[in-house]
Amino acid sequence: MKQVLHLRVNGQAHELYIEPHKTLLEALREELDLTGTKHGCELGECGACTVLVDGTPILACLALPIELQGREITTVEGLAQGAELHPLQRAFAELNAAQCGYCTAGMMLSAKALLDREKNPTREQIRDALAGNLCRCTGYEKILDAVARAAQETGDEGNK
């Protein structure tokens, strides 16, 4: 039976009228038209649907909106500030870290959580933070490079 749920996504409050068995992934893509969050395996094995809940990466395909009321959800659409890209988005674009791009949104959110808690992450920390995000195109090196570049950039901005 459908019921009214309240979700905060990218700083905006939304009222949804959905069934309790709809996952966060379905709610984002099909109710809120936030299709930046990708559906990959839908079984918790690929990381394509990674979003942040109160700053922590989780999988939208295995989360229920009914359990996330009152929490702050961040999707890839919440990264840019208006026309200003997030340093991660800039770095991914400039270093060609996306090929088919399907894993990119999830990668960037896992990386954002890392950069928010660790200003100067080591290569190892970046690898650990992205361990739950599969990429079938790039071989990962450019993705790791892009996160390192973004870390450097945000670190530099912080030092100004």
């Binding site: 709809k22 079984l43 361990a131 739950g132």
Partner: protein, 328 residues
Amino acid sequence: MLRLPPFEYHAPRSVEQAVNLYAQHGADAMFVAGGTDLYPNMKRRQFEPKVLIGLGALDEWRGIVKHNDNGVTIRAGTTLAQVADSSILQTQYPALAIAAELVSTPQLRAMGTLGGNLCLDTRCNYYDQEFSWRQALGFCMKKDGVICMVAPGSSRCWAVSSTDCAPVVIALDGRVRLVSPRGERVIAATDLYRDDGIEYLGKTRDELLTEIILPPADETKSIYLKLRRRDSFDFPILGVAAALRFASNGEIEHARIVLGGVGSRPLECTEAARILVGQKLSREAIDAAAEAAWKPARPLDNTDSTHGYRKKMARVYVARALEALGEK
């Protein structure tokens, strides 16, 4: 898109409410904590509960509490990430922090709970498949069918215990608290498991696992090693938990070695432990214990990699675990 089957959802605020809700709905209901095991299984139609009792909103559901005697209680809803990051566990019960850190991926460790990992459904290549795949093959006895695809002549299911934390909690002499409307009981962690792929838990379905209780670590050293194809993702195809307590003269006073991923329940290597007690951790003692540990391991051809390799690696990993404890 793979979607969940419809269900009615309840979010009780107390353990009492949770177990009473279960009593009300009976076999139509299931408890769910992090959902990282149950929801994929529901999407594959391995479970189709009409009622889900979500445990995330329970008061006092998360947290690690130190006892006066230096033991600890870990509430069942503590996430695997919290277990892995706990400084008490890292220093006193390192095997448990290591095991939690090795479960799946950062996202799933942030969602999944210790209680959920201990109750993880047994796994099998013929069971963990989508409905249409299982239907095309004619279904196995664990869900919707009558035969075992791995051992067609067998009268039982051989799905594999694939929890990383259970072997550790058993090796650490842990106990678990189970609560139902009939009351509560505390049992040894080893008694939480049965050697059957379908009825793999030694608790009734209406009992809720609420706490994991570890005795004081004292001088016990512990470790967990995990074998899998991809180091950042997979379930164990072999897990080795070892806990040794040394006397002041360097002799082993107490030993437990428990294997995961080799049968329908965690496998305790009692003979290997018996060999170690009263010995110093010499090369000879390690080799003798490893030799004794791998014999009872009987992995079948129903997980990743070959069962012959997994059995051989049981000896190698037990030896490595003991060597690492000797170096600590």
